[in-house]
């Protein structure tokens, strides 16, 4: 019935096909793939080869485009082509492909469509159990989704058809009724008309002939209203069969005549053959044997010409009875023999069909098992890929975490090292400065002790000697001179002691300091010896930033002091000159006088000169005394610059 509805739109479809064929040349990509699918659908009922070609092209293009939606649709198209060509196993495989893609895409409507398509194929294969399973799965999804409501009654009707084939008429009625309710709910009249027609036809099988008449009438009315006049004779013939069964032969005759006329007009030979044979039986029941013969023979002729075996057998059987009733036993025997032969043929055909169905069932089961194995393998492979990916990502993540940990530990260790270095440097500096401070403190204590004890005692000695000199006026001159000499010596010792204390408390002595000290000493000497002219010259090229250690400064100062003292004491010099000069390698100190000098060969060196030599050695320098009688004395100290601080 549904196929008939589609046939009515053939003209419209032709226009669509032409348009699609034209438009595909200007298309590419997704649009072209969609058009190829539509073309496959359109050609499925006309030219299967073209339909297959379009579907194959659509699959290839969708694969190339990596568009899963189009690929699923293309596999669906290919499956439809195989279904139409009777290659139901291939149809199953491609429907499964389509289902797999849609499942991966989580396309619920698409999954339900695939289930419905698989249900149809399994129905055609005679595997009703599997067919129903798919139909029910599709129904559950369609009912859950609030999308296209029309798919719910469609599946309900399909389920009804399967039950009808299994002769489960109650179940069939239940699902047809549910489909009808849905159509009514949405006031979808063509759906209502078709379903009512189906219910009417089903009621013939259940023997509810009044229901057949009722529903067929209602369907006929709706078809008439909607303009689907080609379907009216189906309803008419159903009503005729129902009336015939209810023994309303007259009314049944009228209805048969009307339906025969309509089928003749539509050139629907299959239904015409059936209607004529049924009408012939009706006429036989009404004892109109002549007319009955004519209708039965007419129906038989159409059946024979078109190889409608079941109608041929029906007609021959009726004719055999009719000839027997007419006492024409020869003909009756002849038709009986034909009936028997046809029965055998039909039986063989049915048997072959059963065997084919069994074979198909076996093949289907085998294919299902293969599909299941493939699906299991696919799932296993997918799981392996997922596991592999997880392993890769896990390893990467672990590597990143370990790398981060390494980097953070390295950074922390670096920070710790830097901190420890800084702390150690500070600690060392502190230790050094503590030692320096301690040393200075020790020096100060020693200095204080020297000053307070030895200095005080020396001062006491001087004071005692002065008291002795002035207390005892009548002392011999020799004693007084000796006392004065001891007093002067002690005073000198105090000076030297103080100088030592000064040097001790200086960690270093700069050149200016030394210069100032020497200058002070010369001024003092000048004030003590007014007849002698002193001079103190420092070469301007000497760097003022030159520093000496306290020991170096002390030794240089002592050598100069001793030399000047010697000149004053022994040389009777009129002029004493102290000069300091520098060249690239040496710093030189010269003390010259113009006094009486001495003969270096005949005079042995005293303590003073020996001390100066010793000090010069400590300084790492060169010490020379150049003297001759009446030509003055020169003392020269040369210090290598690199030995100075």
């Amino acid at each position: 019935m549904l196929s008939l509805i589609f046939n009515s739109g053939k003209l419209v479809a032709q226009t669509v096909v032409d348009s699609l064929l034209q438009v595909r040349y200007n298309q590419q990509g997704d649009a072209l793939a969609a058009t190829l699918n539509e073309l496959s659908w359109e050609f499925k009922s006309r030219q299967l080869d073209s339909a297959k070609l379009f579907a194959v092209q659509a699959v290839a293009l969708s694969n190339e485009l990596k568009n899963d939606t189009l690929l699923a649709a293309s596999y669906n198209s290919l499956a439809n082509v195989f279904e139409a060509s009777g290659a139901l196993d291939s149809a199953l495989v491609y429907h499964e492909h389509s289902l797999l893609i849609k499942s991966r895409m989580r396309d619920s409507t698409g999954i339900a469509d695939s289930y419905n398509n698989l249900g149809i194929v399994y129905d055609e294969l005679g595997n009703y159990e599997q067919s129903l399973r798919y139909y029910f799965d599709a129904l559950a999804i369609y009912e859950r989704l609030a999308g296209d409501w029309s798919k719910v009654p469609m599946v309900l009707s399909n389920i009804g058809i399967v039950y009808k084939k299994q002769e489960a008429y109650d179940k069939t009625m239940e699902f047809y009724t549910r489909a009808l309710d849905v159509y009514k709910q949405h006031n979808y009249e063509i759906g209502i008309a078709i379903t009512k027609g189906n219910i009417g036809a089903l009621a013939i099988k259940t023997g509810d002939f009044y229901k057949t008449i009722q529903y067929a009438k209602q369907a006929k009315k709706l078809y008439t209203k909607l303009g689907y006049l080609r379907y009216l004779p189906y309803m008419t013939v159903n009503m005729a069969i129902a009336n015939d069964s209810l023994e309303n032969y007259g009314e049944a005759s009228q209805l048969y005549i009307a339906s025969i006329a309509a089928f003749e007009k539509d050139n629907n030979l299959y239904e015409l053959s059936n209607a004529r044979i049924s009408y012939g039986n009706n006429l036989y029941t009404q004892y109109q044997d002549k007319k009955a013969f004519a209708e039965l023979l007419s129906g038989l002729k159409i059946a024979e010409q078109n190889d409608f075996k079941e109608f041929e057998q029906k007609a021959v059987s009726a004719l055999a009875i009719l000839y027997r009733e007419s006492d024409n036993y020869t003909k009756a025997y002849e038709y009986s023999q034909r009936e028997h032969k046809l029965y055998k043929e039909l039986f063989e055909e049915e048997k072959t069909k059963s065997i084919f169905e069994l074979e198909t069932k076996y093949q289907t089961q085998k294919k299902e098992n293969q599909i299941l194995i493939q699906q299991a393998l696919l799932v296993q492979k997918e799981a392996q890929v997922v596991r592999k990916n997880m392993m890769i990502f896990g390893s990467l993540g672990l590597a990143v975490i370990l790398g981060l940990l390494g980097f953070l530990i390295f950074r922390q260790q670096k920070l710790k090292n830097e901190q420890l270095q800084k702390e150690a440097a500070l600690g060392m500096a502190l230790t050094k400065i503590e030692t320096q401070n301690k040393l200075q403190e020790q020096r100060l204590r020693i200095s204080r002790d020297l000053h307070d004890n030895i200095g005080a005692q020396l001062t006491f000695i001087i004071s005692s000697l002065d008291n002795l000199k002035y207390g005892y006026k009548n002392l011999e001159k020799g004693v007084t001179d000796k006392l004065s000499q001891v007093s002067t010596f002690t005073g000198q010792t105090i000076y030297e002691l103080r100088d030592t204390i000064w040097a001790m408390n200086k960690s270093e002595i700069d050149f200016d300091d030394l210069k100032s000290r020497i200058s002070n000493f010369i001024e003092k000497a000048q004030s003590a010896a007014t007849r002698t002219a002193f001079s103190f010259d420092v070469n301007t090229q000497i760097k003022n930033d030159r520093n000496f250690t306290s020991l170096q400064g002390m030794n240089i100062y002592r050598i100069i002091q001793e030399s000047v003292n010697n000149s004053l004491k022994y040389a009777n010099a009129g002029k004493i000159a102290v000069t300091i000069s520098e060249n690239d390698t040496h710093l030189s100190f010269n003390i010259n006088d113009n006094g009486q000098g001495f003969d270096q060969e005949s005079i042995s060196l005293g303590n003073g000169l020996l001390n100066m030599k010793k000090r010069a050695q400590e300084l790492g320098g060169d010490f020379q005394v150049i003297a001759s009688l009446d030509h003055g004395t020169s003392v020269r100290l040369q210090l290598p610059i690199n030995s100075l601080k």
């Binding site: 997880m390 990502f393 896990g394 993540g397 990143v400 975490i401 981060l404 940990l405 953070l408 530990i409 950074r411 922390q412 920070l415 710790k416 901190q419 800084k422 702390e423 500070l426 600690g427 500096a429 502190l430 400065i433 503590e434 320096q436 401070n437 301690k438 200075q440 403190e441 020790q442 100060l444 200095s447 204080r448 000053h451 200095g455 103080r498 100088d499 204390i501 000064w502 408390n505 200086k506 960690s507 000290r517 002070n520």
Partner: protein, 80 residues
């Protein structure tokens, strides 16, 4: 979905490790600062003492021999 949770877990682990190290570094810096501050204070105390002493010694006029004024006991530094 599992990958999504794994990513979240991974991000949390990375953030956790990073934060733990940051916290530890902060603690180390704090302890280091305390040590450095303490050492710096000691150092500056010694330096100021030496500076004070040197200044006093430099100012000492040897010609007047008033050593007593210079050689004062240094109360601020404790020599170990």
């Amino acid at each position: 979905m599992t990958l999504y949770y794994l990513l979240i877990f991974f991000a949390l682990v990375v953030a956790g490790v990073f934060l733990a190290f940051q916290k530890r570094n902060k603690r180390l810096n704090k302890a280091h600062k305390l040590i450095v501050d303490s050492l710096s204070i000691d150092l500056s105390l010694h330096l100021s003492q030496i500076e004070f002493r040197q200044k006093s010694l430099s100012a000492y006029d040897f010609l007047r021999y008033n050593l007593e004024e210079v050689l004062v006991v240094q109360q601020r530094v404790k020599i170990k």
